[in-house]
Amino acid sequence: MPVITYREAVTQALTEALDSDERVFIMGEDVGGYGGSYAVTKGMLAKYGPKRIRETPIAESVFVGAGAGAAMAGLKPVVEIMTINFSILAMDQIVNHAAKVRYMSGGQLSSGVIMRTVTGGGAGLAATHSQSLEPWYAHVPGIWVVTPATPYDALGLLREAFTKDDPVLFSEHALIYRLRGEVPEEHYTVPFGQAAISRRGSDVTLVAYSRMVHVALDAAQMLANQGVEAEVIDLRTLRPLDMETVFQSVRKTNRVAVVEEAWRTGGFAAEIASQIQEACFDYLDGPVARIGGEDVPQPYAINLERATIPDAKKVVNELAKVIGLKVTA
């Protein structure tokens, strides 16, 4: 099987769509000559021209809204919001408009705009450029929220996004663009709302999404060294949310922790934990642990920054502290 990077996976899905569907075009800040802030659209302007690779002003609200409007007219725009932090400037168009138009038109209109964006901290960019805001969007009915953790999923989920008639927030994690992984040569897609079991185990369940899947996998390795077998579940999409896969795992392991990079207070782990206790209360041997980002704006200094983002050590420590697993980091 070919091995490609996470970045190449995103680029490949975009290229396939541009090649196969005239309705597809890309617009955003620096998607043209610059090649995309994270180099995902590199070379596309030369290949597809300025009609389909559209450089926009630094004006998130109008280019996201224009994407939403063009999608209402039957086109398939991909807007690149340079980072999820800047999506806040387009919040009105995303939440009040793109997400609502199908429902409030009684099904007459829909807006299948794909909003690619880059999430996460850990790159020394400090408070305003290091946030993980996917849970905000997952709160809103009417938007698909997609959080791939691997090249396989980035390709399969983005292909799937092109089949949707409602807005998709496609959240790529900044720190895993160089992550390599196998993808089949034959065409495949990854359906929304289907979690993946990234590692099988019977002693404890770790639920994660985006880059935290890799942190959970690292923690699982540390646990395995101490004789504890963790099952790691990658949610892959937050909306729709596949809780059945989580429940099945919890009913087997009886212990569960949710790991995310977003702030712990009001984070998406709270939603997962709540659903787990509703559905699996009698199966639980301990509280559902939530391991999230520290409740602070992300600091710049590297030691402080590292302390805000969950790592494998923190996961193991929390399992000991909250669930009482006899493990040490």
Partner: protein, 332 residues
Amino acid sequence: MANGKKAGSQKTAARVTKAEGLELYRIMKQIRVFEEASASQYMRGRIRGFLHLYIGEEAIAAGAIPLLAKQDYITTHYRDHGHALARGMSPNAAMAELFGRATGSSKGKGGSMHLIDANIGMMGGYAIVGGQLPLGVGLALANNYKGNDSIVLTFLGDGALSEGEFHEAMNLAAIWKLPIIFFCENNLYGMGAPVSEVFAVKDIYKIAEPYGIPSLQVDGMDVLAVRDAMRDVVRHVRQGNGPYFVEALAYRFRGHSMADPNEYRNKAEEEFWKQRDPITSFRAYLVNELGVAEADIDALDQEVDAEIEAAVKFAEESPEPDLSELHTDITA
């Protein structure tokens, strides 16, 4: 076309035929009677939420919208009943939507502020000030991308001028030369705030100039002035010359919404504008300038009254949406 000109200063002869004049009158009258019926039903508790009436501003919708072609799009703000009706939404569907009934234009899910009829390019009623502007730009981009000659007419109130989305939308439309008309209905107040106190640009139509967007100001109480000005504007935009900005000076005769006690405007000002009622004055024009018989206009009035009465009855008798509709029209 000159930048920032005032339109409607020179009168042209035979600006409309009798039939056209009667049609413009019918549209304005239909909106007026629809709005009066809405207000009355609101007072009776049959219409919920906010109800923003278009009374006083009918000449804008009637003067501008019939000039659009079938495939053109409209996006607008929450004071949208007049735009929807002028575009051809059935009064039955509109009234039923206000009543929250299954037969409404959005099956009762959108309400007064979100009148949408995709079949006639009425792409909505959007209730966040300025929110309809990026969507309008996107629809115009779609026309441009598809290479057709369809255009977008996007209405905004004077309140939206201060929103960032307005300036973002003007800029993008200008640099991409998109086929969109930004039509500012300046009724002098953004809810209760006088536009002169909250917006730095005094001659509003000149806001387009730094964007390189041609613009004009027109008397929004004069249906023919609006129509004359818009005929040129529509042609200009349809020919691929990029966006246009129109400011129409108008006045709403009622409060911002039915919830507004309307205490911030003085009576003399209200009286001044009411003397310029677009329907009364156009009726006089029809009779005096076009020689339409009073009896013909009376007959038209009766027709419209009956139509709106029937719309209220239709809405009253329509069922509420089935509870199963709660979870339809949503996939994500």
